[in-house]
């Protein structure tokens, strides 16, 4: 198999996902098939070819650091699952 169940579990943990035993089994097979297919890229000699990360010809898009319109604290918090006194509330981080 192209990717082991342990590797799937490890990567899922990096991505903050829990997987059941059945899911690990299923994903290892399916993702293994995809990774095997991706191996076809190795048939191409890419020595000295520059990688492309973007499809247009811009380099940097700088602009002045000016204050423009914003929608304020209340609206910014309007979708927060939990909020208090103008802040997002998260579970306790430090003991």
């Amino acid at each position: 198999m192209k990717i082991t169940k342990d590797e799937v579990l490890y990567v899922a943990k990096l991505a903050r996902l829990n997987l059941s035993d059945d899911e690990v089994e299923k994903f290892a097979g399916q993702i293994g098939d995809v990774l095997s297919y991706i191996e076809t890229l190795n048939k191409v000699d890419t020595e000295g070819i520059n990688p492309t990360s973007h499809a247009n010809f811009l380099s940097n898009a700088f602009r002045k650091d000016e204050v423009k319109e914003n929608f304020g604290v209340e609206k910014a918090l309007s979708n927060a699952p939990l909020k208090e006194n103008g802040h997002f509330v998260v579970p306790k981080i430090v003991g």
Partner: protein
Amino acid sequence: MNLYELSIEEANKLLTKKEISSKELTQSVLDRIDAVDEKVGAYITVDHAGALKAADDADKKIQNGDTKALTGIPLGIKDLICTDGLLTTCGSKILSNFEPPYDATVIEKLKSENAVFTGKLNMDEFAMGSTTENSSFKNTCNPFDLSRIPGGSSGGSAASVAAGICLGSLGSDTGGSIRQPASHCGVVGMKPTYGRVSRYGLVAFASSLDQIGPLAKNVTDCAIIMDAISGYDRRDSTSVDEKVPDFYEAIKRNGGVKGLKIGIPKEYNSTEGLDPKVSESVNNAIAELEKLGAQTIEISLPNTEYAVAAYYVLAPSEASSNLARYDGVRYGVRTEKSENLIDMYHKTRTEGFGDEVKRRIIIGTYALSSGYYDAYYKKASQIRTLIMDDFKKAFEVCDVIASPVAPTPATLIGENADDPLAMYLSDVFTLSANLAGVPGISVPCGFSDGLPIGLQLMGKHFDEETLLRVAYNYEQATDYMLKIPELV
């Protein structure tokens, strides 16, 4: 004729002449939604009240003689384009309660023309898929055969236009997600050049590939929507400050296709899994364009065979990074019970994402993880350079490239459900345009057992005008323009 059957251009003429009101038109579309969307399943949210209010506002503008091309026209919006105060779910449980605090740039632009929004359209979760079966909420059915998929990921956007439950729509295209559903549903769909339309307010899937574009009943309507949404936007750092032609005016001026060079990639006819009927329809379409005076020329896109593999490294890699933001803190659904912060992240994401999204996050995280980066992400980015070079060379000798959109007509719902790789392989003709950033359009070119087939035309960067011109001339010469299925 029912008002919902009108094209945008026809409706605009009647509105301008005050022969109909936007309220009548909008009501006709809303009634049609109530009558058929239970079967089609194109909408996640129908905004009856908002649409009627916007229609009233549009009618006031029209009364004052201030009618723009989309004033009072009912449009549907793919549910990953942010609409201020209107639910925007991305087809995902994790955003099932998300009401954006702002409008996407394209929505602002349409509102400035007093367009009417009927609601938000179904899609594969976070635009990951080619069938709309990956929506967390429901399947969308193909209006030409309700047992079949509408294509995806903009399945709701294509099915709604085909079913007459909006006059036109917006979709997004990361690997074919506008063109392929347009092809399956017999409508026109365009993916503009990367950078032509602002992505501000488009929920990100793969930022270097995503582009918003129109789906419409015909090429003219497609041009009208392109006019409204195109242009530079300082809020999207990849938006390009390039002159936007008047696409509608260009179509009306119609230069014809005489002498135009159409490139035919020699690799495409031998593509594995290409349905003979699709191949025949596309070849007939090319012959029709020759009859209209275009010349065909054989070209080569040798690295196309690696496009699927490169794409399924790059897109999941970008997605794994983009989707890290769904952590249950700032928006979306948070898990109900958790032990601590890390546990909250895990449970929120595990409960909130569907299988295909999880698969792609895992593939992307794997491809970007330490020790694998060079073998996957860097390698795929180098292949991307080669694919772009192929297009550059091809466009030295031709003006547009013609090909199929999808290798087969719409498949049955459930056909590829447990085989993600099979679904990925069906993107073979559309992915390269996203990797290279060039524009592409799907235009109806035939039927196979009652199922629509689309012709794809791809063009040079920022040359949507030529694509629209070729598509328009083909459409005028043929008889495949959308006929709305009855459905009741």
